[in-house]
Each structure stands twice: as structure tokens, then as C-alpha cells.
């Protein structure tokens, strides 16, 4: 399948917290970070992508929406988003959502 057609959902094994405007991703289970005790923080752009990972939008829809926010060429946005999603998937913070693809 084309990577842009994939749909991702956030892992059920994490909790998202916002402290003083900072998004903090708290893993519930072991094995999500490289090191023990680690948490994740998102920068502004990361937050824009993260907010759109909902098990419904496919990657290409996320890219379309970001294209409207950022004045950057679509290919560049798509490459960045795919890279970011790959990083999230590697850390088990998101999962490819097969059930959503079926709908």
C-alpha cells in the first residue's frame, strides 16, 4: 500500500498530558523509549501532526491539512510527516490502524 494511504491511531498504551502549554506523552508500558524513565515532548509542528492522528485520517489527508497551514511544498511536507510517523511507530506511540482502513 502507498504509505500516504495508511491510517494511524495513537497507541492505547500512552497518555497525553498538557503541562503549561507543553504536550507530554507519557508511556504506560515498558519498551516505548530508548531509555527507562523517558517521556516525549512535541514541538509545535509535531503537535499539529499529532493532533491529526486519530485513526480516521489517512496520511495524505494530514499532509493536505498541513499544506494549508505551512507554506512549504507538498513533497517536503509529505516526506517530513512520513519520517515523523515512522519515528512514532518505531517507538510504538502509534499503530497502523487496520480496522480504520477497512472502513
Amino acid at each position: 500500500m502507498n504509505k500516504l494511504e495508511r491510517i494511524y491511531a495513537k497507541s492505547k498504551d500512552l497518555v497525553e498530558r498538557e503541562i503549561e502549554g507543553e504536550i507530554i506523552i507519557v508511556p504506560l508500558t515498558s519498551g516505548m523509549g530508548d531509555l527507562e524513565d523517558e517521556l516525549f515532548s512535541l514541538n509545535e509542528v509535531g503537535r499539529d501532526v499529532w493532533a491529526r492522528i486519530d485513526g480516521k485520517r489517512c496520511v495524505s489527508e494530514i499532509v493536505n491539512e498541513l499544506e494549508e497551514i505551512y507554506e512549504i511544498e507538498r513533497e517536503k511536507i509529505a516526506a517530513d510527516v512520513l519520517g515523523f510517523l515512522g519515528e512514532l511507530e518505531k517507538r510504538k506511540l502509534i499503530v497502523e490502524d487496520a480496522s480504520c482502513q477497512a472502513t
Binding site: L28, D37, S41, V45, G46, Y70, I72
Partner: protein, 380 residues
Amino acid sequence: MSGYLEELKLPDFHFWKEIKEKRILLSAEIELTERCNNNCTHCYVNLPANDQDAKKRELSFQEIREIADEAVEMGCLWWLITGGEPLLREDFTDIYLYLKKKGILTGVFTNATLITPELVRLFKKYPPRDLEITVYGVTQKTYERVTRTSGSFEAFRRGINLLQKENVSFTLKAMALRSNVDELEAIKSSYRTISKDHFRFDPFLHLRLRPDDKRNHQIKNERISPEEIVAIELADEERKNGLLKQICEEKKIGQETADLSDDNQLFYCGAGKTSFALDPYGFFKLCSSLSHPDCVYNLRKGSLKEAWEKFVPQVRVMRTEDEQCRNRCLQCPLINLCMWCPATAYLECGKLDGHIEDFCQIAHARAEALGFEKHIEKLI
């Protein structure tokens, strides 16, 4: 557009800069129970494990959930579960998982004697932020001289072996007591290699939170001398550096609530600045040791928000008119080396502004050992 995700240790988060000058609720310590299966000579809080009256009065799981929900809404990020022995609570797993699933970084202090394979599986899958275990001795004789509980040493060994076998990391610490002082070096050499973090000794023994002359007498008998405390501290490079750093720090930590020109103000510490403590019966405290009736707030009759926003500021502006406290303790250049604070003063003297001679001696012994005493004499 790159580097959207940062993997960070907690101290590296950006929000610390934002909250530096604010009073914001970030952490809590909850004593799930005062009951304990050990009966340590030095303990400031323990009740018998089967104390039915205490058990009945303890917060229910539902009450703890409601307080945790409110704390999370207010931004609270981590909780320490302690006791007594928190694993005595039959609903420990429910409480622990609830806090974890709220996104709270959850630590646990335990004596490890009640660790089971089920709990190891729980901690393996849902790791605690910190799992801290207290060691009382390397031999059964010394360990049980402190715990006064037959079979506790074997249970402790079994507990830490279970954790080690499944690679669940934990931190060990030891209380330095008259009953085990001769074994401290052996404790350190036996356990430091299996401790996740720096192995530390705690030589400071609080008196009972609820006045008890007989038990307080036992605690005082367990205290080691100022010279022994200082010798232990100087032998520990990390602790020694910590003291050197402490003495150079500005004494008034809670600057946003303290009037720096007001030398009558009692609270110069960080109590109630970013954290609170909760006793097993629903009483909110600014710190776990501060048990004066005027400084506790019943969460069964009010909300956490009210406690945090209205009650804490009222406590933090409490003042003293006691001449000795004003002129001796609050003005003392060694205050950062002293364990004196309104909470310990109340435990030791029955009043928030009492002078504690034992602590004064420890502070001076520390200053002398660190080479500050002569320098300080010029300031007094």
C-alpha cells in the same frame, strides 16, 4: 520541519522554565495506609497491619480516584505512593493502575516483603517511575532487630530476588540507626551494585506524626550522634557535594509567597509550592511531615482546588512572635544545613516555632566538618 519529537528526561522538560516563578501543583505524596507488616523501632507512623479501625478510616479507592482526577485536572504529573506499607492495601493494584492510566508518573516506596510474582508482572508491564526499597541490615539478626518482625528478612530477600529475576529495577536506601550503624558499610557494599540509582543512607529520624511518648523515646534511642551522621555524609561524595551546594543557596526557596523583608515568616521552604501530601484518611498537608492541626485540610469536606488555592497560601504566611525562633533559628546562617523547619519543630517541641537542640548540633557539626564553622562565626 524536523525534530518534532523529543525524548526527554523529566528534568529536561521545557515547562520547568515556565513554572519557575509560579506556585503550581506538580507532584503529590500519598500515604495509602499507616499500617505496616513490620514494626520498625524508628518508624514515625506505623500501625499494626491488622488495625481494623485504621483500615476502616482509610480513603477508599473511589475517594482516591476523585482526588487523583482533580489533581490531574490541576496539572499534577507525578505521585509517590507510600505508607506504612502500601502493598498491604488489597486494592493497591487498582490504585496504582488508575494513577498510571491517568498519565501520572507513579513511584512506590515499599519494604519489599510483600512483593509477589503478580506484583512483579504488574511492575514489569507498567513500570513505576521509582520503586524505592528500604534496607535495614545484611544479616537477619540486624534486620529483624530493626523491624521487630520474625521472618521479615527472608521476606525482604525473597521480594528483591523476585524483582531482580524479572529485571524490574529498583533503588535501595538504608536508614542509619543505632541498631544497624555497625553494619552500614556492609549494607552499602552488599546492595549498592543492585540499586538502580545512587545508594543512600538516611540518618534523620522523625518523631511520631501522632504524639506517642513511648515510641518517641524509642526513636530518640535509635538516633546516631551528630558526629556519626557527619562521618557518614562525608564518606558519601554525592551527599557531601549536596551539602556544599545547600550552604551556598539562598535560604528562602518559596520566594513568591514569602515576604523576604519579614523575618517573622515561618515557611521559607518549598512546602506547598509545587507539591502536597495526603494522609490515609484524606487530610491534605503541605508536606508529609507537617501535621500541625492548623496546617492540615480535610479533603473529605472540601476540594483539592480549595486546599491548594486558598488553604496553602494561608499556611505559608504563618508568622512567629517567638524571640528565640526569630533571632536564632530564622536568622541562622546555618539554616540550610539544619533539619529545622516548622514541621519538625512541631514534632519535636509541640509548636511550629520551637528550637530543636539536637538539630542545631547536627548543623554545627556539618558546618565544622565542611570547614564553614569559622567563617560562619564571623557572621553571627
